[in-house]
């Protein structure tokens, strides 16, 4: 039997492992073996590819693989769990970058040979998507790491500029694809000869890279879960497009699986904010914050110290903890767990209410709490925890704001209709927060001024360790 048939069958096995692995990844009990299964599928695909193709220079290939594996392995081992959003963003970028690099290599190889319109179109598409994913992910990384401002960056005529750039990139792409047929384009279409492809290809890459930057900079920090999952979807699409370039079904299948996964998460995130993808991408949400924030501080709030907060918590029958991005920033998850352990020792029932968009990536809070050793069956999602607030004694909010803002029920508010955690239905609410400053949406939070709300100001980590001491003594 021909070796390439064996290779194709091995790819098919690998595809089956990918699909079943990703299915296992969507259930807590089987997730870990699903990940292992997907990595076996990847290994199989790589080995088969190496055996099936004529490798001229084993040394270079092996050295590149080892270099990448070492960097990836060290990053994966050393990274703090709180830095997970950045890491995912970087990995996304590399996936997109790799697809673009492969497409570019194919372009260089085939340049001037007239490979046909189909190949031309697919090379252009995978370069475009790959490069947008690459630069967009790096900007997302910069925002998450704090190198680039987390606030939306906007300037006049931004949308028009983006649209023009996009059209320009498409035009250059169309020219390149046409040149793929090996004939000069008609003069009305372009002043281009096939020997100018090189410059046009560089223009395509540059345009796509700038486009990626421009698409992500106007998006603010709290909308990052949407951006990260969208870029995840793009990295899959880029790989699938590269599969079309090379005529490799393995790439198409794996790429489209990732594309679908990213899209599902994107939709879930948008739904959790009651906003459309277009609104997230172009809305530059939260820019008018400072003006509205001026109101804060005029109304009286009731603030408590660690001792008082500890008393309230220690003598409650049931406590629901609502974590937000502030918990990740302060890295207070371990102290929080200690408080919860102490409360449970006293017989207090403790659960966690996690909003889908709390944090900077989908599932951010779940990862953080899992790191602190919190059992995942205590993490309740939006609907489940909302059903329990009526019978909850105390809600402890740690570094969350917009996801508990009752303004979401006000049709005139900018966050109107966003599904929130209805914490105000609990008997007492303790808000652990650095100041009264508004959250990302830039609006005041009425919750802070409610009769049953106690404000517990300070750095979450410091205050949480105070709380550990006080609860122990209570």
């Amino acid at each position: 039997m021909d070796t390439s048939i064996i290779a194709q069958i091995a790819y098919l096995v690998s595809a089956i492992l990918f699909v079943s692995g990703i299915k296992q990844l969507s259930s807590p009990a089987t997730a870990r073996s699903g990940n292992v299964r997907a990595s076996v599928a990847m290994l199989l695909a790589i080995v088969v590819t190496l055996l099936d193709n004529r490798i001229l220079d084993w040394t270079t290939v092996a050295a590149s693989v080892i270099a990448g594996a070492v960097v990836g392995g060290v990053l994966a081992r050393k990274i703090e769990m709180t830095a997970m959003p950045q890491l995912v963003a970087v990995f996304n970028g590399f996936g997109g970058g790799a697809s673009a690099a492969v497409a570019a290599a194919e372009f260089v190889r085939l340049e001037g040979s007239g490979p046909g319109l189909g190949t031309g179109v697919t090379i252009v598409l995978s370069t475009l998507i790959g490069a947008v994913t690459f630069s967009g992910s790096l900007i997302a990384f910069g925002k998450l790491q704090g190198i680039v401002t987390g606030k939306p960056v906007t300037f006049p005529l931004q949308k028009i500029l983006n649209a023009l750039l996009f059209l320009g990139v498409l035009w250059v792409g169309a020219l390149l694809a046409h040149a793929g047929m090996g004939t000069a384009a008609p003069s009305w279409f372009a002043p281009i000869h096939t020997d100018m492809n090189h410059a046009f290809f560089l223009a395509l890459v540059a345009g796509a890279l700038i486009l990626g930057v421009l698409l992500v900079i106007p998006i603010g920090g709290a909308d990052m879960p949407v951006v990260v999952s969208l870029l995840n979807s793009y990295s899959g699409l880029a790989a699938a497009a590269t599969g079309f370039v090379l005529g490799n079904m393995m790439l198409i299948i794996a790429g489209s699986l990732v594309g679908a996964a990213g899209l599902i998460l994107t939709q879930l995130m948008c739904k959790a904010m009651n906003r459309s993808l277009g609104n997230v991408a172009f809305g530059a949400f939260g820019t008018d914050g400072p003006a509205l924030a001026a109101k804060t501080g005029e109304r009286p709030v009731r603030d408590v110290d660690a001792e008082q907060a500890a008393m309230v918590l220690a003598y409650a029958g049931s406590v629901a903890v609502v974590p937000g991005y502030g918990l990740a920033v302060a890295q207070a998850q371990h102290e929080l767990k200690k408080v919860c352990d102490l409360l449970e020792e006293r017989g207090v029932r403790v659960r966690f209410g996690v909003h889908p968009v709390a944090g900077r990536m989908p599932g951010h809070m779940n990862v953080l709490l899992a790191e602190a050793d919190v059992s995942y069956d205590k993490l309740l999602d939006l609907d489940d925890i909302n059903a329990e607030f009526d019978t909850t004694d105390v809600v402890l909010i740690v570094g969350a704001n917009d996801v508990v803002n009752p303004a979401a029920h006000d049709p005139d508010s900018v966050i109107a209709g966003m599904p929130i955690l209805d914490v105000d239905r609990a008997r007492t609410v303790i808000v652990m927060k650095r100041s009264l400053s508004p959250g990302f949406a830039g609006i005041d939070n009425d919750l802070f001024y409610m009769e049953n709300t106690l404000m517990f100001f300070g750095d979450a980590r410091q205050q949480m360790s105070e709380l550990v001491k006080e609860v122990r003594e209570a």
Partner: protein, 92 residues
């Protein structure tokens, strides 16, 4: 049927399969699913291996090497960090 058209069939069907398979993922697994899927997008490594292996000009080789390095970081880092995360998800 042309190769492009077969590819399109595979693309559409695999996307639909992906949607079906992942549609009911619980919030607890959003991050691991994302980073696991992310590692899978490093499948571009296959393409990078093919072009680097057959490279006959310096530019193709340079781009191919860049592709292999980036994709391997993505694959190895992605699967390992996902495993590290999933190890922490436990029911007690």
């Amino acid at each position: 049927m042309g190769e492009l058209l077969i590819g399109l069939y595979v693309f559409v069907l695999a996307t639909l399969a992906g949607r079906e398979v992942i549609s009911k993922v619980p919030p607890t697994l959003h991050t691991p699913l994302m980073s696991g899927a992310n590692a899978i997008s490093g499948i571009a490594i296959i393409g990078a291996l093919v072009v680097t292996g057959a490279a006959d000009t310096p530019w193709v080789k340079v781009l191919g090497i860049a592709g292999i390095v980036m994709a391997t970081i993505n694959v190895v880092g992605g699967f390992m960090v996902t495993d590290r995360m999933l190890q922490m998800f436990r029911k007690r």
